[in-house]
Amino acid sequence: MINVSNLHKYFGKLHVLKGVDLEVQPQEVVVMIGASGSGKSTLLRCLNFLEMKDEGEISFNGQAIDPKTTPLNKVRENVGMVFQHFNLFPHMTVLENVIEAPVHVKRTPRAEAIEQGRQLLEKVGLADKGDVYPEKLSGGQKQRVAIARALAMEPSVMLFDEPTSALDPELVGEVLEVMKGLAADGMTMVVVTHEMGFAREVADRVVFLDNGMIAEQGDPETFFSNPQHPKARQFLSRVL
């Protein structure tokens, strides 16, 4: 579904991604882990072109995306993204947040979008919060709205950029539950997270990044019980 080959990214002189190859299969849940600064968030943001690659190729369903010739908004319609800091639209109610893109990007009739939006809010357990403004919600609730908002575009893949890192510990669970539900429904997901329990339980594959490269990857069972790369061992001994 997603194919990344030889991806390089620089921030000024800083070489953040040093030739990353990554393939994501349909319905696969890939969890990317690594120390901060390892490039995992940058890699994720390159996948929907919030960061522009400097070298290499990114393709969706076999089609290489050239940011110069491909309208990126069309690509992004199929790639949902959930941010660490939620980025809900504060001037809109929860339901308005969810229907904004379907109505104004996809041109879904408003009544239909509202119907679908309410179903999505129910799915993330916030059916009663549709008419509330985001500022009234807890962090966990905000993040669940953000997930519903991304799902409203019916994307074929969902990207999660440290979705629980800004949450109070007691609110992490409710967001992870929603994500587990998505994975169970067969959503293709790429998740950057520090939640090792989630990685172990939900991931089909764990990708460990170190210093801008994929140092090791594999199924979570093998990776967590018997990491090969010394940096991976070191990392796991610190976080587990």
């Binding site: 919030l50 941010f83 980025n87 639209f89 001037h91 904004e100 990007v105």
Partner: protein, 217 residues
């Protein structure tokens, strides 16, 4: 004191007409300035270098020269090419002047909206223009209201400078009266009272508007 009240009352009809002129010039010039300011602010945040340079030139020149010079320049300069009444020369000069400051207010407020908002909008497939219109501007404009109110008050008082191109508004009327009656102190006090009353009214309306925005959310 009774003589001052007499002056105030006897000139009331004339000053009411003059105040109406002040309000017209202020209202039209600020309405134009809002449009100018928004357009220039969007040029600046477009990320296109050429538009940014135009913005810097405009704001630089307007902020770098006195308003009275701008009014005189437009009135005597432009009227050599096109026929422009004093009213329109003055109003346009005020609009161009306030527009630069309003552009700065809009630019600052647009740039103060968290970058994550544009990223979230783009990640949902919105084009930049749509995201600006639906997501960024509503938040920026709300933040712009308090400094904008301030700028409107400045605009109202700055309109007194069109007295120097022969428009009969509050300030020129008080100058005329002062010159004829030699009651300088009285008539400039009267001028001040009219401005004070208009600013007080405007401040009141603005605070009601702000309250309504707060409760609307």
């Amino acid at each position: 004191m009774t003589s001052f009240l007499n002056d105030l009352i006897s000139t009331f009809p004339a000053f009411t007409r003059a105040a109406w002129m002040t309000l017209q010039i202020t209202g039209i010039s600020l309405a134009l300035a809002l449009v100018i300011g928004l357009i220039f602010a969007l040029m600046k945040v477009s990320g296109l270098r050429s538009l940014g340079i135009i913005y810097n030139g405009y704001v630089g020149i307007i902020r770098g020269t006195p308003l009275i010079v701008q009014i005189m320049w437009l009135y005597f300069g432009i009227t050599q090419i096109v026929v422009l009444s004093a009213f329109w020369a003055g109003t346009i000069a005020l609009a161009i002047h306030s527009g630069a400051y309003i552009a700065e207010i809009f630019r600052g407020c647009i740039q103060s909206v968290d970058r994550g908002q544009m990223e979230a909008a783009e990640s949902l497939g919105m084009k930049r223009g749509l995201a600006m219109r639906r997501i960024i501007l509503p938040q920026a404009i709300k933040r712009a209201i308090p400094p904008m109110g301030n700028q409107f008050i400045i605009g109202l008082k700055d309109s007194s400078l069109v007295a120097f191109i022969g428009i009969t508004e509050i300030f020129s009327l008080s100058m005329d009266n002062a010159a004829v009656t030699f009651k300088q102190l009285e008539f400039y006090t009267i001028a001040g009272l009219y401005y004070l009353a208009m600013v007080a009214l405007f401040t009141y309306l603005l605070s009601r508007f702000e309250n309504r925005l707060d409760t609307a959310k």
